[in-house]
Amino acid sequence: MNFILEILGGFSALASPEVLAYMIIGFLIGTFFGAVPGLTSVLAIALLLPITYSLDVVPALVMCASIFMSGMYAGSITATTINIPGAPSSMMTSIEGYALMKKGQGANALGHAALGSMIGGVVGALLLIALTPIAAKVSLLIQTPGKFSLILFALVVIVISQRDAIAKGTIATLLGIMIATIGIDVMQPIARFNFGTETLVEGIDMMPLIIGTFAISEILYQAQQSRDPLTIDANTRNLAPIRRKDFLPSWHEIREIGFFTYLKSALIGYFIGVLPGAGGSMAAFVSYAEAMRKSKNPGEYGKGSREGIAAAETANNSMCGGAFVPMLMFGIPGDPTTAIVLGVLIINGLQPGPRLLDTQLDLIAPMFASLLISALILIPLTLYLLGPYFVKIVSIRKALLYSCIAVVALVGSYVATYSPFQMMLALVFGILAFFLRKQNYPTVTLLLGFILGPDLEQYLRRALSLNDGNPLTFLTSPDSLFFLVLTAIFFYFMVIRVPKTPKI
């Protein structure tokens, strides 16, 4: 009962003009970053991270949630209108949406994308609210060896999700773990890897790593591309303009897609979101493939299938709710965005775990409410108000855009400690991430390795010291054994018996 009241209190917190303003600003920022190719909601939240030092925790989390939701939806805008997915999770939408755009039905495609995102976002947020207390109770059952095995499971899934780049994913993850070992040891009061300098004794802060990995590396990456990512070819420019009255999908089209498709896609998205490292791209891909497999009109896929758009967009927005569960209850981020939200929690002194619901639900509940309201109201409202101007809004010149990002990123790094050392660290990590990215190393796994590494080490050493150094404790403890078996199952299905890619 108390939980329900706190959640309702979260909705009433949104009624405060300040919090509401941050939610709307966050939504617009997320829409812009999600829609512009090359920019992502991850980058938006990374740039926001330093600002959270000056914000209260509630507006900061509310803003993060609305950025997350809008960023996931907004990728469909440029995917449909100019055939360039604003975010990787909109890859499937670009196939179907742009095909409809070429037929003069771009507005209708955007309407279906928004409807799918809205349904997915709402279902994901409701499932998050409903299942978080259960997840909290389950998390209380996990003992120290189990916690180690759970984090190991998370890291293995993060690495094997990289499909064609497992070795590179492993390297990036290990690099993150290695960076995290710099500073005071997790169990003993000794400094490691400080190389005789005092500045490294405190360890590496998460913020310069995030800013460097996501902002600085993106600036360097875009600088070396001579072509502007928003170069629109002549054929696209000559397509029929987007009109507001065409946004609303017809009842007949919605019935043809089917309520079950929306629900199934939302559930697929949510549970993929719960998996560490899987993210929106996998949610959209799996849901799209499943919808195509069960479709009455599979021949429409690739030629402008509304069902395909609905499946992909419902799933990637539903993923937002799912990704929060492991982050809030176990401190294991489901995707890069929640990894940075975890940073916001830590900066504000909140520790993830079941106690969060007992003691600080009043701070978390507005974030849940923000996810739901962003999906239910702000997605359709933004489409209606800004839809006809989307292409113009995202057509900002690259030089101006990336200059602004550079200033926010570097000055933001300075904000945390008022020291140029953090700025320099951000640059160093940016250079490292740039070269990793150039050779297709997944930089997201570097961040997740950095976040999960210290806990992995701490639980490993604690579990062994509690059991006289006997490693069999990981097999005799039921919760630990469960996660080890789960790791083996995932490894079997994702690496040994690789799922087939659907042909379009």
């Binding site: 000056s54 492993t170 390297i171 290990l174 169990m187 070396q224 200033v407 000055v411 320099m424």
Partner: protein
């Protein structure tokens, strides 16, 4: 193998080699860690040593893949990207240098002057075409002012203001 395809392969070996050196330095440092009390096998150096070993194994796979994969031929590479589209590392290097100078001068020159010069340089490196000098100067001033308002006035961040140059 033509000289350019060999160069491409050599280029992709640089990063794993760099990581190999970093890992070796890391491992050597890990082996020198002296624990304050004995934890048995799994002490402060256990995870770093394990991470280093796993890193060597993963790097081994990457080296194997690079050496086994045939480098793209000159013709194929030409077909994939026109000269205009080919990524240029020079622009990224210029931005790294400009950023390093900006960071070094940030406290001394203060936020307004250092940021103005930095933004002006970035606009130049990002090839803000068809734009005159006055416009570039105006853009630099506007961007500097907008983020000054955001950080210093809205979020109350104390930004350095030329005090480094004052006596």
């Amino acid at each position: 193998m033509s000289s350019s395809s060999f160069a491409a392969k050599k280029g992709s070996l640089v990063l794993p080699l760099f990581l190999l050196i970093i890992t070796t330095v890391y491992l050597a440092t890990a082996l020198q860690i002296t624990p304050q009390f004995d934890e048995g096998l799994v002490g402060p150096s256990f995870v770093p040593v394990l991470a280093s070993i796993l890193m060597y194994v993963a790097l081994g796979f990457v080296f194997r893949d690079i050496l086994r994969t045939p480098a793209p031929t000159d013709d194929a590479a030409d077909n994939e990207a026109t000269a205009e589209d080919k990524p240029s590392l020079a622009a990224a290097i210029k931005i790294v240098l400009a950023t390093a100078i900006y960071i070094a001068a940030f406290k001394t020159l203060g936020y307004p002057l250092s940021t103005f010069l930095y933004v002006y340089a970035l606009l130049f490196f990002f090839k803000l075409e068809n734009t005159g000098q006055i416009r570039r100067v105006a853009y630099s001033a506007i961007i500097t002012a907008v983020f000054y308002v955001l950080f210093a006035m809205i979020f109350q961040v104390r930004l350095p203001m030329l005090e480094g140059l004052l006596p």
